[in-house]
């Protein structure tokens, strides 16, 4: 093994700069927004860093409020609950819809019908 290769740590290229998500990918996502014409380097860096903080915050909030604390797990429904219950994560409700069973959905439809009938 040459020591040369250990100097180039390809696993986390941005790590020493304090970020690990690829800046180029973040720029691509930002540029996909139609109104954006250009983004300076600092804004790009900050958005990338903010996205990492966001991922951490979403994961930790969902885990702490979730049902998986005893089983040591984080599930989709924990995330969907966070999106619904936490104000700052409300913008995620469209892509984190709560899952319900068809059976429960049909039942709630039935109940609504019955309620309507009562009035």
């Amino acid at each position: 093994m040459s020591q040369n290769s250990s100097d180039k740590d390809d696993q986390s290229p941005g790590n020493k700069k304090g970020i690990s998500l690829p800046i180029s990918r973040v720029r691509l996502i930002m540029k996909s927004s139609p109104d954006v014409s250009s983004i300076n380097q600092e804004a790009l860096f900050l958005t990338t860093k903010a996205t990492e903080l966001f991922v951490q915050h979403l994961a930790v909030t969902s885990f702490n409020n979730g049902s998986g604390k005893e089983t040591n797990s984080l599930s989709y429904s924990d995330l969907a609950n966070t999106a619904e219950e936490t104000e700052t994560f409300h913008f995620l409700t469209d892509i984190l819809p709560k899952k319900i069973l068809a059976r429960d959905y049909l039942q709630s439809l039935e109940e609504m019908k019955e309620e309507d009938a009562d009035f």
């Binding site: 040459s2 020591q3 040369n4 250990s6 100097d7 180039k8 740590d9 020493k16 700069k17 304090g18 970020i19 690990s20 998500l21 690829p22 990918r25 973040v26 691509l28 996502i29 930002m30 540029k31 996909s32 927004s33 109104d35 954006v36 014409s37 983004i39 300076n40 600092e42 804004a43 860096f45 900050l46 958005t47 860093k49 903010a50 996205t51 903080l53 966001f54 991922v55 951490q56 915050h57 979403l58 994961a59 930790v60 885990f63 998986g68 089983t71 040591n72 797990s73 984080l74 599930s75 989709y76 924990d78 995330l79 999106a83 104000e87 700052t88 913008f91 995620l92 892509i95 984190l96």
Partner: protein, 146 residues
């Protein structure tokens, strides 16, 4: 511009690592949950960009800058990110500024180095310079890495 929709996804391996590092050891994160967080992160980028862009447009600027992103975080009620972002930006700025100085310094060092092979004074600079290692022919001398 993104040509394929998957270009707008963030790399799963990196997202998974960030999640794992944020949670206590040994927490099992389902595949579905990881995918959802990754998609949420992409939506976050778009939302933040849109907010930041509004601030830039209000100020009649075409280029998004750091202040726009910070203002966007406040608007999105992620004030908790402001402090860590400020700190990260400071480090980033120093790194950018340092790069030029370091490469200047490096050139001088290299010249010196040919005279004295036992120069060990470069240890501290090494951290900021990891990107330049590729151009560094004397890499095998770096006993002090990391």
């Amino acid at each position: 511009m993104a040509e394929r929709p998957e270009d707008l996804n963030l790399p799963n391996a990196v997202i998974t690592r960030i999640i794992k590092e944020a949670l206590p050891d040994g927490v099992n994160v389902s595949k579905e949950a990881r995918r959802a967080i990754s998609q949420a992160a992409s939506v976050f980028v778009l939302y933040a960009t849109s907010c930041a862009n509004n601030f830039a447009m209000k100020a009649k600027r075409k280029t998004l800058n750091a202040g726009d992103v910070m203002a966007a975080m406040e608007e999105m009620e992620f004030e908790r990110f402001l402090e860590p972002l400020k700190e990260a930006l400071e480090v980033y700025k120093k790194g950018q500024k340092g790069k030029k100085e370091v490469s200047e310094q490096k050139r001088k060092d290299k010249e010196k180095k040919q005279d004295s092979e036992n120069d060990r004074s470069r240890e501290e600079e090494e951290e900021e310079e990891e990107e330049r290692m590729e151009e560094e022919p004397e890499a095998e001398e770096d006993e002090a890495e990391n």
